[in-house]
Symmetry: C2
Subunit: 111 residues, 2 copies
């Protein structure tokens, strides 16, 4: 049932969309998993694991950093990346809320 037209999207909707967009590429999902498993840390190691070039990996890392999911600290000529605790906690929260809010429906369309 329609109430009235919304002016904007909610902050939560936009925030979740930013997170989801960051997860919206297999390379970025793979990077997050490699970082948590500590199978890779430095950008060059990620490049060795992934089927994409160095510049593309760097670009994806930038995207993940912009979304707040990853942080990197300079370590000599290298950069050590890891999951950003605060940002990832927020992402988990938003995704968890979504899963809680949208259970698998038992009934189909009911118009």
């Amino acid at each position: 049932m329609a109430t009235h037209k919304r002016e904007h999207f909610t902050t939560a909707e936009q925030e979740l969309a930013v997170i989801a967009k960051a997860l919206g590429h297999p390379a970025r999902v793979a990077i997050l998993r490699l970082l948590t498993q500590r199978r890779a840390c430095v950008c060059g190691e990620l490049v060795l694991e992934l089927p994409i070039s160095q510049s593309t990996v760097s670009q994806h890392l930038k995207g993940l950093k912009t979304a707040g999911l990853v942080q990197g600290e300079v370590d000599g000529p290298r950069v050590c990346y890891c999951i950003d605790p605060a940002g990832w906690a927020r992402a988990r929260q938003l995704l968890g809320d979504l899963l809680a809010e949208l259970p698998v429906p038992t009934t189909g369309c009911a118009c």
Copy 2:
């Protein structure tokens, strides 16, 4: 540590990316919520709620349908949309796995 370069991304990574990409726009997140809350069902009702045009809503519905998150059945001149149980169950599974696999790290970068 690097083992050896991967040829492709895994199926799970790609599948999750498809789901995440579908969630990567506030309009689509809003649509999913409206559908589960049964605050809207028919396309026209969604249009009345959302700050975007009819053609754009239809476009987003198509995207959600392609991702397998939503299904629609024709009801006279209208189309009744609802969450696709199987597709959404799969999406929940993949997102849940991600949350389980990637806990919030306690330690920061450790290179």
